[in-house]
Protein backbone atom coordinates (compact mmCIF):
# COMPACT_ATOMS: atom_id res chain seq x y z
CA UNK A 1 0.00 0.00 0.00
CA UNK A 2 2.75 2.45 1.00
CA UNK A 3 4.76 1.26 -1.99
CA UNK A 4 1.82 1.91 -4.19
CA UNK A 5 1.36 5.47 -2.89
CA UNK A 6 5.01 6.19 -3.33
CA UNK A 7 4.90 5.03 -6.95
CA UNK A 8 1.83 7.20 -7.63
CA UNK A 9 3.68 10.07 -6.01
CA UNK A 10 6.75 9.42 -8.17
CA UNK A 11 4.70 9.52 -11.36
CA UNK A 12 2.85 12.65 -10.26
CA UNK A 13 6.17 14.42 -9.79
CA UNK A 14 7.42 13.08 -13.09
CA UNK A 15 4.63 15.09 -14.78
CA UNK A 16 4.81 18.06 -12.44
CA UNK A 17 8.59 18.33 -12.99
CA UNK A 18 7.94 19.38 -16.56
CA UNK A 19 6.35 22.63 -15.41
CA UNK A 20 9.14 23.57 -13.08
CA UNK A 21 11.41 24.84 -15.80
CA UNK A 22 9.25 25.04 -18.88
CA UNK A 23 7.42 28.35 -18.90
CA UNK A 24 5.65 27.64 -22.22
CA UNK A 25 4.37 24.35 -20.83
CA UNK A 26 3.05 26.06 -17.73
CA UNK A 27 1.47 28.90 -19.68
CA UNK A 28 -0.05 26.38 -22.05
CA UNK A 29 -2.24 25.12 -19.22
CA UNK A 30 -4.10 28.41 -19.00
CA UNK A 31 -3.48 29.95 -22.42
CA UNK A 32 -6.42 28.58 -24.42
CA UNK A 33 -9.06 28.73 -21.70
CA UNK A 34 -8.13 32.31 -20.83
CA UNK A 35 -8.21 33.44 -24.46
CA UNK A 36 -11.55 31.77 -25.02
CA UNK A 37 -13.03 33.26 -21.93
CA UNK A 38 -11.82 36.74 -22.87
CA UNK A 39 -13.20 36.62 -26.40
CA UNK A 40 -16.57 35.10 -25.60
CA UNK A 41 -16.93 37.04 -22.40
CA UNK A 42 -16.62 40.33 -24.26
CA UNK A 43 -18.85 39.15 -27.08
CA UNK A 44 -21.59 38.38 -24.60
CA UNK A 45 -20.98 41.65 -22.82
CA UNK A 46 -21.54 43.38 -26.13
CA UNK A 47 -24.72 41.44 -26.80
CA UNK A 48 -25.89 42.39 -23.36
CA UNK A 49 -25.44 46.05 -24.21
CA UNK A 50 -27.51 45.65 -27.37
CA UNK A 51 -30.49 44.15 -25.62
CA UNK A 52 -31.11 43.72 -21.91
CA UNK A 53 -31.96 41.46 -18.99
CA UNK A 54 -32.89 38.32 -20.95
CA UNK A 55 -29.45 38.32 -22.45
CA UNK A 56 -27.86 38.91 -19.10
CA UNK A 57 -28.92 35.45 -18.03
CA UNK A 58 -27.38 34.08 -21.22
CA UNK A 59 -24.09 35.78 -20.36
CA UNK A 60 -24.00 34.04 -17.02
CA UNK A 61 -24.84 30.70 -18.61
CA UNK A 62 -22.23 31.07 -21.28
CA UNK A 63 -19.35 32.03 -19.00
CA UNK A 64 -20.23 29.19 -16.69
CA UNK A 65 -20.52 26.76 -19.57
CA UNK A 66 -17.08 27.75 -20.84
CA UNK A 67 -15.44 27.19 -17.48
CA UNK A 68 -17.20 23.85 -17.09
CA UNK A 69 -16.35 22.71 -20.59
CA UNK A 70 -12.74 23.38 -19.83
CA UNK A 71 -12.88 21.23 -16.74
CA UNK A 72 -14.23 18.33 -18.77
CA UNK A 73 -11.73 18.88 -21.57
CA UNK A 74 -8.72 19.20 -19.26
CA UNK A 75 -9.54 16.16 -17.20
CA UNK A 76 -9.67 14.06 -20.36
CA UNK A 77 -6.41 15.63 -21.55
CA UNK A 78 -4.74 15.16 -18.18
CA UNK A 79 -5.03 11.41 -18.54
CA UNK A 80 -4.41 10.98 -22.25
CA UNK A 81 -1.63 13.52 -22.77
CA UNK A 82 0.33 12.26 -19.77
CA UNK A 83 -0.01 8.78 -21.13
CA UNK A 84 1.24 9.56 -24.60
CA UNK A 85 4.01 11.71 -23.18
CA UNK A 86 5.73 8.50 -22.13
CA UNK A 87 5.03 6.87 -25.47
CA UNK A 88 6.51 9.81 -27.39
CA UNK A 89 9.63 9.86 -25.27
CA UNK A 90 10.06 6.09 -25.78
CA UNK A 91 10.04 5.67 -22.06
CA UNK A 92 7.04 3.40 -21.96
CA UNK A 93 8.96 0.12 -21.93
CA UNK A 94 10.95 1.26 -18.89
CA UNK A 95 7.70 2.03 -17.08
CA UNK A 96 5.93 -1.13 -18.15
CA UNK A 97 8.69 -3.36 -16.82
CA UNK A 98 9.03 -1.46 -13.53
CA UNK A 99 6.98 -2.29 -10.42
CA UNK A 100 4.56 0.48 -11.44
CA UNK A 101 1.07 -0.88 -12.00
CA UNK A 102 -1.07 0.50 -14.80
CA UNK A 103 -3.73 1.45 -12.24
CA UNK A 104 -1.17 3.44 -10.24
CA UNK A 105 -0.03 5.18 -13.38
CA UNK A 106 -3.59 6.14 -14.28
CA UNK A 107 -4.29 7.41 -10.75
CA UNK A 108 -1.19 9.62 -11.02
CA UNK A 109 -2.52 11.07 -14.28
CA UNK A 110 -5.89 11.71 -12.56
CA UNK A 111 -4.19 13.63 -9.79
CA UNK A 112 -2.04 15.56 -12.20
CA UNK A 113 -5.14 16.46 -14.22
CA UNK A 114 -6.98 17.47 -11.08
CA UNK A 115 -4.17 19.80 -10.07
CA UNK A 116 -4.19 21.45 -13.46
CA UNK A 117 -7.97 21.87 -13.29
CA UNK A 118 -7.80 23.54 -9.90
CA UNK A 119 -5.27 26.00 -11.31
CA UNK A 120 -7.30 26.66 -14.47
CA UNK A 121 -10.60 27.05 -12.65
CA UNK A 122 -9.07 29.51 -10.22
CA UNK A 123 -7.54 31.58 -13.00
CA UNK A 124 -10.71 31.56 -15.08
CA UNK A 125 -13.00 32.49 -12.25
CA UNK A 126 -10.57 35.24 -11.26
CA UNK A 127 -10.70 36.66 -14.77
CA UNK A 128 -14.48 36.27 -15.00
CA UNK A 129 -14.81 38.12 -11.73
CA UNK A 130 -12.49 40.94 -12.78
CA UNK A 131 -13.89 41.60 -16.24
CA UNK A 132 -17.48 40.46 -16.10
CA UNK A 133 -18.31 40.81 -12.41
CA UNK A 134 -19.06 37.13 -12.57
CA UNK A 135 -18.58 35.27 -9.32
CA UNK A 136 -18.46 31.52 -9.84
CA UNK A 137 -18.75 30.74 -6.14
CA UNK A 138 -21.62 33.15 -5.60
CA UNK A 139 -23.51 31.84 -8.63
CA UNK A 140 -23.15 28.16 -7.87
CA UNK A 141 -22.23 28.00 -4.22
CA UNK A 142 -21.49 24.56 -2.85
CA UNK A 143 -23.30 23.00 -5.83
CA UNK A 144 -20.04 23.64 -7.62
CA UNK A 145 -18.61 20.55 -5.94
CA UNK A 146 -21.04 17.84 -7.14
CA UNK A 147 -21.20 19.43 -10.58
CA UNK A 148 -17.44 19.58 -10.96
CA UNK A 149 -16.99 16.08 -9.56
CA UNK A 150 -19.20 14.61 -12.25
CA UNK A 151 -17.39 16.52 -14.98
CA UNK A 152 -14.06 15.33 -13.67
CA UNK A 153 -15.20 11.71 -13.57
CA UNK A 154 -16.55 11.83 -17.09
CA UNK A 155 -13.37 13.51 -18.33
CA UNK A 156 -11.28 10.79 -16.73
CA UNK A 157 -13.39 8.06 -18.30
CA UNK A 158 -12.95 9.70 -21.71
CA UNK A 159 -9.22 10.02 -20.99
CA UNK A 160 -8.93 6.31 -20.26
CA UNK A 161 -10.72 5.47 -23.51
CA UNK A 162 -8.39 7.81 -25.41
CA UNK A 163 -5.32 6.21 -23.82
CA UNK A 164 -6.68 2.80 -24.80
CA UNK A 165 -7.06 3.96 -28.40
CA UNK A 166 -3.47 5.21 -28.41
CA UNK A 167 -2.20 1.87 -27.09
CA UNK A 168 -4.11 0.09 -29.82
CA UNK A 169 -3.40 2.35 -32.80
CA UNK A 170 -0.34 4.37 -31.74
CA UNK A 171 0.59 7.55 -33.59
CA UNK A 172 -2.25 7.08 -36.06
CA UNK A 173 -4.90 8.21 -33.57
CA UNK A 174 -3.04 11.11 -32.01
CA UNK A 175 -5.53 13.61 -33.43
CA UNK A 176 -8.24 11.86 -31.42
CA UNK A 177 -6.56 12.87 -28.18
CA UNK A 178 -7.75 16.39 -28.84
CA UNK A 179 -10.81 15.39 -30.82
CA UNK A 180 -12.60 12.97 -28.51
CA UNK A 181 -14.11 15.62 -26.19
CA UNK A 182 -15.52 17.47 -29.18
CA UNK A 183 -17.36 14.32 -30.16
CA UNK A 184 -19.62 14.76 -27.16
CA UNK A 185 -19.70 18.57 -27.19
CA UNK A 186 -22.78 19.04 -29.42
CA UNK A 187 -24.80 16.52 -27.41
CA UNK A 188 -23.93 17.66 -23.90
CA UNK A 189 -26.22 20.70 -23.88
CA UNK A 190 -23.27 22.86 -22.96
CA UNK A 191 -23.98 26.25 -24.50
CA UNK A 192 -27.74 25.74 -25.00
CA UNK A 193 -30.42 23.89 -23.03
CA UNK A 194 -31.29 20.29 -23.86
CA UNK A 195 -34.67 21.37 -25.20
CA UNK A 196 -32.92 23.13 -28.12
CA UNK A 197 -31.92 19.77 -29.59
CA UNK A 198 -34.28 17.76 -31.81
CA UNK A 199 -35.87 14.84 -29.92
CA UNK A 200 -33.74 12.19 -31.62
CA UNK A 201 -30.52 13.90 -30.54
CA UNK A 202 -31.93 14.42 -27.05
CA UNK A 203 -31.91 10.66 -26.68
CA UNK A 204 -28.14 10.65 -27.17
CA UNK A 205 -27.76 13.60 -24.82
CA UNK A 206 -29.61 11.81 -22.07
CA UNK A 207 -26.98 9.06 -22.10
CA UNK A 208 -24.19 11.53 -21.37
CA UNK A 209 -23.40 12.49 -17.75
CA UNK A 210 -22.18 15.88 -19.00
CA UNK A 211 -25.72 16.79 -20.12
CA UNK A 212 -26.99 16.55 -16.54
CA UNK A 213 -24.13 18.66 -15.28
CA UNK A 214 -24.77 21.49 -17.73
CA UNK A 215 -28.55 21.31 -17.32
CA UNK A 216 -27.97 21.23 -13.57
CA UNK A 217 -25.68 24.25 -13.75
CA UNK A 218 -28.38 26.32 -15.46
CA UNK A 219 -30.98 25.07 -13.03
CA UNK A 220 -28.89 26.14 -10.05
CA UNK A 221 -28.35 29.62 -11.48
CA UNK A 222 -32.09 30.08 -12.06
CA UNK A 223 -33.49 28.34 -9.00
CA UNK A 224 -30.64 28.30 -6.48
CA UNK A 225 -30.88 24.57 -5.97
CA UNK A 226 -29.72 21.40 -7.71
CA UNK A 227 -32.28 18.62 -8.17
CA UNK A 228 -30.82 15.51 -6.62
CA UNK A 229 -31.70 13.34 -9.62
CA UNK A 230 -29.43 15.44 -11.88
CA UNK A 231 -26.54 14.57 -9.63
CA UNK A 232 -27.49 10.93 -9.17
CA UNK A 233 -28.17 10.19 -12.83
CA UNK A 234 -24.85 11.75 -13.81
CA UNK A 235 -23.05 9.81 -11.11
CA UNK A 236 -24.76 6.55 -12.15
CA UNK A 237 -23.87 7.08 -15.81
CA UNK A 238 -20.32 8.01 -14.84
CA UNK A 239 -19.96 4.82 -12.85
CA UNK A 240 -21.11 2.80 -15.85
CA UNK A 241 -18.75 4.65 -18.23
CA UNK A 242 -15.86 4.37 -15.82
CA UNK A 243 -16.23 0.61 -15.66
CA UNK A 244 -16.64 0.37 -19.43
CA UNK A 245 -13.61 2.61 -20.00
CA UNK A 246 -11.55 0.45 -17.67
CA UNK A 247 -12.63 -2.72 -19.44
CA UNK A 248 -11.90 -1.17 -22.82
CA UNK A 249 -8.44 -0.03 -21.75
CA UNK A 250 -7.70 -3.44 -20.28
CA UNK A 251 -8.74 -5.08 -23.52
CA UNK A 252 -6.49 -2.77 -25.54
CA UNK A 253 -3.58 -3.26 -23.16
CA UNK A 254 -3.82 -7.04 -23.21
CA UNK A 255 -4.32 -6.97 -26.95
CA UNK A 256 -1.11 -4.97 -27.33
CA UNK A 257 0.73 -7.36 -25.04
CA UNK A 258 -0.50 -10.34 -27.04
CA UNK A 259 0.29 -8.85 -30.43
CA UNK A 260 3.73 -7.47 -29.60
CA UNK A 261 2.72 -3.83 -30.11
CA UNK A 262 3.34 -3.00 -26.47
CA UNK A 263 7.13 -3.30 -26.68
CA UNK A 264 7.15 -1.27 -29.87
CA UNK A 265 4.92 1.64 -28.82
CA UNK A 266 6.26 4.99 -29.90
CA UNK A 267 8.63 3.43 -32.41
CA UNK A 268 6.15 3.40 -35.31
Amino acid sequence: MMDSLSRINAMFFRYACLHKRSLPRTLEIVFWPVMELLVWGFVTLYLQRLSDSVVFQAVVFLINAMIFWDILYRSQQGVSISFVEDIWTQNIVNLLISPLRISEWIIATFLYGLTKIIVITSVLSGIAFTFYQFNLIEKLGLYLIPLMANLLLFGWALGIVTAGLVIRWGHAVEALIWGIPFLIQPFSAIFYPLSTLPPALQLISKLLPSTYVFEGMRFVIQNRRLPLEYFLIALGLNTVYFVLAGLFFNQMYHGARASGRLGKLGMD
Binding site: D3, S6, R7, N9, A10, M11, F13, R14, C17, L18, S22, E85, D86, T89, Q90, N91, V93, N94, L95, L96, I97, S98, P99, L100, R101, R257, A258, S259, G260, L262, G263, M267
Partner: protein
Amino acid sequence: MWHNFRMPSKSRAEHEPLVVTKNLCRTYGRIRALQNLNLSLRRGEILGLLGPNGAGKTTAIHILLGLLAATSGEASVLGLSPFKERHQIAKRVNFSSAYVQLPSNLKVMENLTLYAKLYGVPNSPSKIQELLELFEITHLRNRITGSLSAGEKTRLGLIKCLLNDPLLLLLDEPTVSLDPEMADTVRKILKRIQRERNMGILYTSHNMPEVQEMCDRILFIHQGRTITEGLPGDILKAFESQTLEQVFIKIVRSGDLISP
Protein backbone atom coordinates in the same frame (compact mmCIF):
# COMPACT_ATOMS: atom_id res chain seq x y z
CA MET B 1 10.14 -23.83 14.25
CA TRP B 2 9.34 -21.64 11.29
CA HIS B 3 13.02 -20.88 10.96
CA ASN B 4 13.68 -24.46 10.04
CA PHE B 5 10.74 -24.39 7.75
CA ARG B 6 11.93 -21.37 5.76
CA MET B 7 15.60 -22.16 5.45
CA PRO B 8 15.41 -24.94 2.85
CA SER B 9 13.19 -22.93 0.55
CA LYS B 10 15.67 -20.06 0.60
CA SER B 11 18.66 -22.20 -0.18
CA ARG B 12 16.72 -23.90 -2.93
CA ALA B 13 16.00 -20.50 -4.45
CA GLU B 14 19.74 -19.84 -4.49
CA HIS B 15 20.30 -22.80 -6.75
CA GLU B 16 17.22 -22.56 -8.90
CA PRO B 17 17.82 -21.01 -12.32
CA LEU B 18 16.77 -17.37 -12.66
CA VAL B 19 15.35 -17.99 -16.09
CA VAL B 20 14.04 -21.15 -17.68
CA THR B 21 12.22 -21.44 -20.97
CA LYS B 22 10.74 -24.62 -22.40
CA ASN B 23 9.94 -24.84 -26.10
CA LEU B 24 9.17 -21.15 -26.16
CA CYS B 25 7.57 -20.08 -29.44
CA ARG B 26 6.36 -16.79 -30.76
CA THR B 27 4.87 -16.06 -34.14
CA TYR B 28 3.80 -12.75 -35.65
CA GLY B 29 1.29 -13.75 -38.27
CA ARG B 30 3.39 -15.89 -40.60
CA ILE B 31 6.74 -14.83 -39.15
CA ARG B 32 8.14 -17.36 -36.70
CA ALA B 33 10.16 -15.05 -34.52
CA LEU B 34 11.03 -17.72 -31.94
CA GLN B 35 10.88 -21.49 -32.31
CA ASN B 36 11.29 -23.87 -29.41
CA LEU B 37 13.70 -21.78 -27.42
CA ASN B 38 15.08 -23.68 -24.44
CA LEU B 39 17.33 -21.62 -22.29
CA SER B 40 18.32 -21.47 -18.67
CA LEU B 41 20.27 -18.88 -16.78
CA ARG B 42 21.68 -19.24 -13.27
CA ARG B 43 22.77 -16.74 -10.68
CA GLY B 44 26.28 -15.52 -11.28
CA GLU B 45 26.17 -16.38 -14.95
CA ILE B 46 26.28 -14.23 -18.08
CA LEU B 47 24.52 -15.83 -21.01
CA GLY B 48 25.10 -14.33 -24.45
CA LEU B 49 22.06 -14.52 -26.72
CA LEU B 50 23.44 -14.13 -30.21
CA GLY B 51 22.04 -14.04 -33.67
CA PRO B 52 21.73 -11.80 -36.72
CA ASN B 53 19.20 -8.98 -37.00
CA GLY B 54 15.69 -10.37 -36.76
CA ALA B 55 16.86 -13.62 -35.13
CA GLY B 56 14.38 -13.24 -32.28
CA LYS B 57 16.59 -11.92 -29.47
CA THR B 58 14.47 -8.92 -28.55
CA THR B 59 11.35 -11.06 -28.83
CA ALA B 60 12.79 -13.47 -26.27
CA ILE B 61 13.72 -10.64 -23.91
CA HIS B 62 10.30 -9.01 -24.24
CA ILE B 63 8.65 -12.30 -23.30
CA LEU B 64 10.87 -12.60 -20.23
CA LEU B 65 9.93 -9.03 -19.25
CA GLY B 66 6.21 -9.78 -19.49
CA LEU B 67 5.79 -7.28 -22.32
CA LEU B 68 4.82 -9.94 -24.76
CA ALA B 69 2.81 -13.15 -24.69
CA ALA B 70 4.39 -16.34 -25.95
CA THR B 71 2.47 -18.19 -28.64
CA SER B 72 3.29 -21.51 -26.99
CA GLY B 73 5.77 -23.04 -24.59
CA GLU B 74 6.71 -21.90 -21.12
CA ALA B 75 8.84 -19.18 -19.60
CA SER B 76 9.70 -18.77 -15.96
CA VAL B 77 11.61 -15.92 -14.34
CA LEU B 78 12.61 -16.30 -10.68
CA GLY B 79 10.29 -19.31 -10.66
CA LEU B 80 7.28 -17.21 -11.71
CA SER B 81 5.42 -16.55 -14.93
CA PRO B 82 6.54 -13.22 -16.40
CA PHE B 83 3.23 -12.85 -18.19
CA LYS B 84 0.93 -13.58 -15.27
CA GLU B 85 3.05 -12.62 -12.26
CA ARG B 86 5.00 -9.66 -13.57
CA HIS B 87 4.52 -7.60 -10.40
CA GLN B 88 6.17 -10.13 -8.12
CA ILE B 89 9.16 -10.27 -10.44
CA ALA B 90 9.56 -6.62 -11.43
CA LYS B 91 11.37 -5.44 -8.29
CA ARG B 92 14.19 -7.94 -8.68
CA VAL B 93 14.70 -7.73 -12.42
CA ASN B 94 15.78 -4.89 -14.66
CA PHE B 95 16.40 -4.17 -18.29
CA SER B 96 18.29 -1.76 -20.46
CA SER B 97 18.58 -1.34 -24.18
CA ALA B 98 20.08 1.24 -26.47
CA TYR B 99 16.66 1.38 -28.12
CA VAL B 100 14.67 2.35 -25.05
CA GLN B 101 14.96 5.85 -23.60
CA LEU B 102 14.35 7.64 -20.36
CA PRO B 103 12.07 10.71 -20.64
CA SER B 104 14.07 13.19 -22.70
CA ASN B 105 12.48 16.21 -21.06
CA LEU B 106 13.55 15.36 -17.52
CA LYS B 107 16.94 16.06 -16.01
CA VAL B 108 19.29 13.14 -15.42
CA MET B 109 18.79 13.38 -11.69
CA GLU B 110 15.01 13.64 -12.00
CA ASN B 111 14.95 10.51 -14.14
CA LEU B 112 17.06 8.51 -11.72
CA THR B 113 15.02 9.73 -8.75
CA LEU B 114 11.82 8.75 -10.57
CA TYR B 115 13.03 5.22 -11.19
CA ALA B 116 14.55 4.88 -7.72
CA LYS B 117 11.10 5.69 -6.33
CA LEU B 118 9.31 3.34 -8.70
CA TYR B 119 11.61 0.52 -7.64
CA GLY B 120 11.43 1.47 -3.96
CA VAL B 121 15.21 1.83 -3.71
CA PRO B 122 16.22 2.41 -0.09
CA ASN B 123 18.64 5.28 0.53
CA SER B 124 18.34 6.31 -3.10
CA PRO B 125 20.43 9.54 -3.18
CA SER B 126 23.60 7.72 -2.19
CA LYS B 127 22.81 4.81 -4.50
CA ILE B 128 22.34 7.22 -7.41
CA GLN B 129 25.52 9.08 -6.54
CA GLU B 130 27.51 5.86 -6.35
CA LEU B 131 26.32 4.72 -9.79
CA LEU B 132 26.82 8.14 -11.39
CA GLU B 133 30.42 8.07 -10.23
CA LEU B 134 30.92 4.51 -11.37
CA PHE B 135 29.76 5.33 -14.91
CA GLU B 136 31.57 8.67 -14.88
CA ILE B 137 28.58 10.91 -15.58
CA THR B 138 28.27 12.74 -12.26
CA HIS B 139 28.88 16.03 -14.08
CA LEU B 140 25.72 15.44 -16.15
CA ARG B 141 23.36 15.15 -13.23
CA ASN B 142 21.60 18.45 -13.93
CA ARG B 143 21.51 18.12 -17.69
CA ILE B 144 18.29 17.54 -19.60
CA THR B 145 18.33 13.90 -20.68
CA GLY B 146 17.45 14.75 -24.28
CA SER B 147 20.64 16.79 -24.60
CA LEU B 148 22.96 13.88 -23.78
CA SER B 149 24.99 12.11 -26.45
CA ALA B 150 23.98 8.56 -27.40
CA GLY B 151 26.80 7.12 -25.32
CA GLU B 152 25.86 9.19 -22.28
CA LYS B 153 22.23 8.09 -22.63
CA THR B 154 23.37 4.49 -22.80
CA ARG B 155 25.28 4.87 -19.54
CA LEU B 156 22.26 6.56 -17.95
CA GLY B 157 20.12 3.60 -19.03
CA LEU B 158 22.62 1.23 -17.43
CA ILE B 159 22.54 3.20 -14.19
CA LYS B 160 18.75 2.98 -14.22
CA CYS B 161 18.86 -0.77 -14.60
CA LEU B 162 21.29 -1.18 -11.68
CA LEU B 163 19.36 1.06 -9.26
CA ASN B 164 17.37 -1.80 -7.72
CA ASP B 165 20.29 -4.24 -7.33
CA PRO B 166 18.56 -6.72 -9.63
CA LEU B 167 19.07 -10.47 -9.37
CA LEU B 168 18.52 -10.71 -13.08
CA LEU B 169 19.54 -8.21 -15.72
CA LEU B 170 18.35 -8.32 -19.31
CA LEU B 171 20.58 -6.26 -21.57
CA ASP B 172 19.59 -5.80 -25.20
CA GLU B 173 22.60 -4.50 -27.14
CA PRO B 174 23.70 -2.27 -24.27
CA THR B 175 27.05 -1.15 -25.67
CA VAL B 176 25.93 -0.42 -29.22
CA SER B 177 26.48 3.35 -29.09
CA LEU B 178 29.61 3.45 -26.94
CA ASP B 179 33.09 4.21 -28.23
CA PRO B 180 35.59 1.35 -27.83
CA GLU B 181 37.16 2.83 -24.72
CA MET B 182 33.86 3.51 -22.98
CA ALA B 183 32.49 0.13 -24.06
CA ASP B 184 35.49 -1.44 -22.38
CA THR B 185 34.94 0.57 -19.19
CA VAL B 186 31.26 -0.35 -19.15
CA ARG B 187 32.00 -4.06 -19.65
CA LYS B 188 34.43 -4.01 -16.73
CA ILE B 189 31.93 -2.26 -14.48
CA LEU B 190 29.16 -4.65 -15.42
CA LYS B 191 31.35 -7.66 -14.91
CA ARG B 192 32.47 -6.42 -11.51
CA ILE B 193 28.97 -5.66 -10.26
CA GLN B 194 27.77 -8.97 -11.64
CA ARG B 195 30.45 -10.86 -9.65
CA GLU B 196 29.92 -8.86 -6.47
CA ARG B 197 26.16 -9.39 -6.48
CA ASN B 198 26.15 -12.85 -8.02
CA MET B 199 23.78 -11.49 -10.63
CA GLY B 200 22.54 -13.34 -13.70
CA ILE B 201 22.75 -11.45 -17.00
CA LEU B 202 21.18 -12.21 -20.34
CA TYR B 203 23.22 -10.28 -22.85
CA THR B 204 22.70 -9.59 -26.53
CA SER B 205 25.32 -7.96 -28.69
CA HIS B 206 26.62 -8.01 -32.25
CA ASN B 207 30.13 -7.30 -31.04
CA MET B 208 31.72 -10.76 -31.01
CA PRO B 209 34.97 -9.92 -29.19
CA GLU B 210 32.83 -8.32 -26.52
CA VAL B 211 30.70 -11.42 -26.23
CA GLN B 212 33.82 -13.57 -25.95
CA GLU B 213 35.04 -11.34 -23.12
CA MET B 214 31.76 -11.05 -21.23
CA CYS B 215 29.83 -14.26 -21.58
CA ASP B 216 30.20 -17.51 -19.65
CA ARG B 217 27.91 -19.30 -22.03
CA ILE B 218 26.47 -18.61 -25.46
CA LEU B 219 23.24 -19.43 -27.24
CA PHE B 220 23.10 -18.83 -30.97
CA ILE B 221 19.74 -18.33 -32.62
CA HIS B 222 18.93 -17.77 -36.26
CA GLN B 223 15.43 -17.18 -37.67
CA GLY B 224 14.07 -18.02 -34.24
CA ARG B 225 15.76 -21.41 -34.07
CA THR B 226 18.53 -22.43 -31.73
CA ILE B 227 21.60 -23.30 -33.77
CA THR B 228 24.08 -24.04 -31.02
CA GLU B 229 24.62 -23.55 -27.33
CA GLY B 230 27.56 -23.94 -24.98
CA LEU B 231 30.78 -22.55 -23.61
CA PRO B 232 32.56 -20.17 -26.00
CA GLY B 233 35.58 -22.49 -26.25
CA ASP B 234 33.47 -25.52 -27.06
CA ILE B 235 31.57 -23.65 -29.75
CA LEU B 236 34.78 -22.50 -31.39
CA LYS B 237 35.99 -26.11 -31.45
CA ALA B 238 32.73 -27.47 -32.81
CA PHE B 239 32.70 -24.95 -35.66
CA GLU B 240 36.45 -25.29 -36.26
CA SER B 241 36.83 -21.54 -35.94
CA GLN B 242 39.29 -19.16 -34.33
CA THR B 243 36.80 -16.49 -33.32
CA LEU B 244 33.11 -16.14 -32.59
CA GLU B 245 32.94 -13.76 -35.51
CA GLN B 246 33.80 -16.63 -37.86
CA VAL B 247 31.20 -18.83 -36.17
CA PHE B 248 28.62 -16.08 -36.56
CA ILE B 249 29.34 -15.68 -40.25
CA LYS B 250 29.32 -19.44 -40.84
CA ILE B 251 25.95 -19.79 -39.16
CA VAL B 252 24.31 -16.91 -40.99
CA ARG B 253 25.79 -17.69 -44.44
CA SER B 254 24.81 -21.34 -44.43
CA GLY B 255 21.33 -20.62 -43.10
CA ASP B 256 19.58 -23.53 -41.52
CA LEU B 257 21.74 -26.25 -43.07
CA ILE B 258 24.42 -25.96 -40.48
CA SER B 259 24.91 -27.75 -37.24
CA PRO B 260 28.28 -28.25 -35.61
